[in-house]
């Protein structure tokens, strides 16, 4: 764990769910024996992004909403390194929602960890697409007029191959989820419910603790797409956590690229002058 330790002090609010996710990702990487030099952690912009300098490893902290295509490009360039992208519900389901759709569809072999606190924390408590309708927020003293996006129903409509839900208050379970996600063949979506003690007064840590249950305790079959979807979508009484759906039989983006079949080198290793003599022939 000390290999990932940074001397920089945390800046999150007391009781923020980001602490739990921070602990879980470090533990998952250590248990998978991935040293800090052999991974790339990519952060979107938001409170979660302040993790970027609170641990070691090769890291990137980019633009609001754009982390997925950056992470995908990095992965395509060097498939040997595990690439993990982190983003909040604000960016990922507004500015970045197109990227999410196409990342699932493209089936890039990367992990996406959604820091889901139901609002824009860093910009001081505005509504995200996942904030409940009518909830009073900083831009909406009368309650937000827009309907709430059902993020899990939306995601399942994209036919993902790995969907999990964790809770920042259960670091042990989240660690196991993250280990499975990192080992997944294609795009792994990990929704992490977390408290925002400062701005989220509708889904508090205590409420999440009471509502969450582990699917592994109830013999859930993670290969059943329809059941998984139902379990993921219905959070009215209880909230299912754990690996909800997993399918390791779908080739990922890189595996589907015909020109990359049988290649043992990565595009990073292949940067050298390419002899175009043959390509010039068609022009003579």
């Amino acid at each position: 764990m000390k290999d990932y330790h940074s001397e920089n002090r945390s800046t999150w609010c007391d009781g923020c769910g980001d602490y739990g996710i921070w602990a879980a990702i470090k533990q998952a990487l250590v248990e998978l024996k991935i040293p800090p030099t052999q991974t790339l952690l990519c952060y979107d912009v938001g409170c979660h992004g302040n993790m970027s300098d609170k641990l070691l490893g090769y890291r990137f902290h980019g633009l609001h909403g754009r982390v997925l295509p950056f992470a995908a490009g990095a992965k395509l360039a060097n498939p040997k390194l595990p690439v993990i992208a982190f983003g909040g519900d604000g960016a990922s389901f507004s500015e970045g929602i197109g990227h999410l759709v196409h990342a699932v569809r493209s089936h890039y072999p990367i992990v996406f960890v959604l820091h889901n606190n139901g609002n824009y924390g860093l910009t001081t408590g505005q509504a995200s697409s996942l904030t409940p309708q009518n909830q009073q927020m900083n831009t909406a003293p009368n309650g937000i007029p827009e309907a709430t996006l059902n993020s899990m129903d939306f995601l399942f409509s994209l036919e993902p191959t790995f969907v999990a839900r964790g809770f920042s208050g259960d670091i042990k379970q989240l660690k196991e989820i993250l280990k499975a996600a990192i080992s997944h063949r294609g795009f792994a979506f990990v929704d992490v419910l977390q408290a925002c003690p400062t701005y989220n007064h509708f889904a508090t840590h205590t409420m999440l603790m009471q509502k969450c249950f582990k699917v592994e305790d109830e013999n859930h079959n993670a290969s059943d797409f329809a059941k998984a979807r139902k379990l993921a979508v219905d959070t009215s009484k209880r909230i299912a956590t754990g690996i909800l759906y997993r399918n390791e039989n779908v080739p990922n983006f890189i595996e589907r690229l015909v020109p990359r079949q049988g290649k043992t080198t990565t595009p990073v290793e292949e940067v050298e002058t390419f002899d175009i003599t043959k390509l010039m022939e068609e022009f003579v």
């Binding site: 990095a74 940067v271 175009i276």
Partner: protein
Amino acid sequence: MSRISLKIVGSSGQGIDSIGEIMAKALKRSGYCVFGYREYPSLIKGGHASYQLDTSDEKIGSTEVNVNIVIALNHHGLEHNLTDLKPGGILIHSTPDWKFPKEHQKLIDRLSLQVIELPIETVLRKLGAKPILGNVLLSAFIWSVLGQDIAGLKKMVGEKFAKKKDLLELNMRCIEEGFAMHKENASFTVPMPKPQKKWQKQLLITGSKAMGLGAVHAGMRLFAGYPMTPSSPLLNYVASTQNDTGIVLKQAEDEITAAQLVSGAMFMGTRALTATSGGGFDLMSETLSMNAMIENPTVFVLAQRPGPATGLPTWTAQADLLMAVHTAHGEFARLVLSVSDSNDAFTLMNDAFNVAEEFQISVIVLTDKQIAEALYTQEPYELKKTKIKRGLVTDPEKLKKLRSSDRYAANAKNGISPRWLPGADAATYVAQGDEHSADGSVDETASNAKAQLEKRMKKMETLKAALPEPELYEAVSCEQLAMSNDAVPEIDILLVGWGSTKSVIFDVLRSSKLKAQSSKLAYLHFTHLWPLKTEKFIQLSKKAKKVILIEGNYQGQLGILLKQETGIDIQEKILKYDGRPFFYDELLKAIQEKIEALPTRSGSEDPSGSRTTNH
């Protein structure tokens, strides 16, 4: 220099391009230099389109307004393109019983134009051939009009249909019929100059394909793009090579994605490229700013077309120079350069990657619709000279000694701190989009903000010092003129320009029509546009009687940058902003007029440089 030009007109999708391509290649193989130019509306089928070939026994790189032969595939061509002919020109068409209106009839008489109707449909019916073969028939007829050998055309078409025996035979018969048709109309001839062997082995290539080859040769292993004319031909070409090159090709969901994909790929350590046009580049500008902060090398191709908005999607412009120089928030170093033809479209790609990686900055490579789609006759590329420079720490011993705080060390020499790749066995760092200290940790202190900004801006000064001055070309030979501060050449008229106008300016400089005039002409061509090297320009503009800015935009954008950097305001401008490139005869006339207005050598000369020339 003698030029022969032919223009094929009809609706988009009628086979104009296929005739154009057959003729272009056949002419080149026969020993002519060919320059091909397409005009078409933003439609898949229909609309009036053209494919013009300008040929010569000498180097040629432009299109002329008035041509020797017009081939009209439909009656729209008869209506619109008769006026494109030179005196004595030939119009070939296959519209039965066409009656020209009175003013056209007068024009035909006045310019002694020759009009010939070919019974294409009748011949095709006789041969039992499909309408598409009418293109071969026409090509053969033109080939004969140009006095060329039937064997050359047969060989070319033969190669194309080598594997389709039945089609091959029909094609050959069409060629023979085409020649026979000309025998019956033998008075229609356009004699070509004597062919030159040196053109035969050259390439016939568009700027987009040259750029694609250049990028592949430079070690580009990933391309991500979103379709937008006129950058799509590059995307399409690179995609078409993927099975030979093994590159990763990703058609992205939008331009932001494309820019982020290549940024991630470059960050990880491969060479990656994206290309777009103005509207797409607008979307990429935030990513440009991001890469400046994390000092991530990236290369963007910006293929210009007229805006604003959708503008003229399939036409050309040089109007995004100021955007390339200024776009994206914050102050940071960048390189803006422009290709000008099929030669530097190839060579500058490796230069762009080298600068991007060595200086850890973004490089914007400008091109335009003219370069992207024009067909150039090109010397096969010299491959041995290419040197890839990456500016990376890769030595395991050196990597071990690195500290995280070396990555963005503010005191780095020339502002360039060591860069090493994720996965390297070394201290790790964070590429931080927030202002950061040396290891990438967020640091908002005033002293750090100042030190880091100065570090990044220092790269601009380092880069400027390393860049070459613009190239000076003399008239007639179009060879580069050497110059130093002590030896500034005597020049009467200095033309100043950048990008695709170079090759048409060269054709004007080579023109025998200008040779007769005694004034000494030279052309100053800017390849590197930002940061801008100005020493040569200052020296030359002091000495020249007249400086003329030639640009494909309304404001004279290079002129604005030159004035900003030197205080010298170029008063004489030849500007064009109607979506069309400069045409040879049009530019020749414009420059001739400027020369005629020139005072005699003994006239008063203002040496200050920042002066207006007399009107």
